[in-house]
């Protein structure tokens, strides 16, 4: 059981040099969680990875489309649910049409969302009035 409440809200410029910073937040959260009985090292890596991949996607989308060059990332943990939201200001995409990688003919791109889907419990992408939100949930 995890009874703590953690809320993190970060805004970064759309630059890949901040990926390490964002990933590290996830790693620290996993390592510092009280009462987590699972594989802490694995969770730390997975949160680092998922935050890195989601932020990379947001940076890529934003870079093409808009002068509003920031990405907002929120992490909320409450009642054993870890919720990550990544807000981008790009054109958006349809999550349902992103294919699962073909492992026999693996290409260089397209693995990021596969990692997010595989390692987390729920993923959704919604278009809002002035931004898009990738919401990722992991039950601890």
């Amino acid at each position: 059981m995890c009874n703590e409440v953690i809320q993190v809200d970060v805004i970064i410029p759309t630059q890949t040099k901040y990926l390490d910073f964002i990933g590290s937040i996830g790693e620290h959260i996993a390592k510092d969680l009280d009462d987590f009985s699972g594989d802490r090292e694995a969770l730390a890596y997975h949160l680092n990875l998922v935050l890195t991949e989601a932020t990379t996607n947001a940076i890529k989308h934003a870079a093409q489309m808009t002068p509003k060059n920031t990405v907002r990332i929120t992490i909320h943990i409450q009642d054993n649910e870890l919720n990550i939201k990544v807000y981008d200001h790009g054109q958006g995409f349809d999550l349902e049409t992103v294919p699962i990688p073909d492992f026999d003919q693996l290409k260089e791109g397209g693995m990021g969302l596969y990692f997010i889907r595989t390692l987390m419990d729920s993923v959704s992408y919604t278009k809002q009035a002035d931004c898009n939100v990738l919401e990722i949930i992991k039950y601890l």
Partner: protein, 112 residues
């Protein structure tokens, strides 16, 4: 991307000097490997001992190197992966594509 190149028994060994390969530095790694292959160095080992984190773009850079080396009848192999880095190759089944060696001397013996 900090890295070091050494030629050992005819094999080009790239020592990655970073703890992290992600979208910030993977493009540079990809270009570096491609440049090496274009110069005719098609037998390559990437030594990953210091790397504790790799993302999809990092895997993509190594896969690009593997494909480009293979296209010139060469090979790109990996050595000294930490367990969690190795698990990324397993998750994407890239462990079936790359030859992954536990230590560098074994890698050089087999790839030379």
């Amino acid at each position: 991307m900090k890295l070091k190149l050494e030629k050992i028994k005819g094999v080009s060994v790239i020592f990655i000097q970073e703890e992290r390969i992600d979208a910030h530095n993977s493009g540079e790694l990809k270009e570096y490997i491609l440049h090496l292959i274009e110069q005719g160095e098609v037998n390559i080992i990437v030594e990953l001992e210091r790397v504790r984190f790799i993302d999809s773009s990092g895997l993509g850079a190594l896969l690009s190197g593997y494909k480009n080396a293979a296209a010139k009848s060469g090979k790109l192999a990996l050595a000294c992966c930490k367990q969690q880095v190795l698990s990324m190759f397993e998750l994407t089944r890239l462990n079936r594509v790359f030859e992954i060696y536990a230590d560098l001397s074994e890698a050089v013996e087999n790839e030379a």
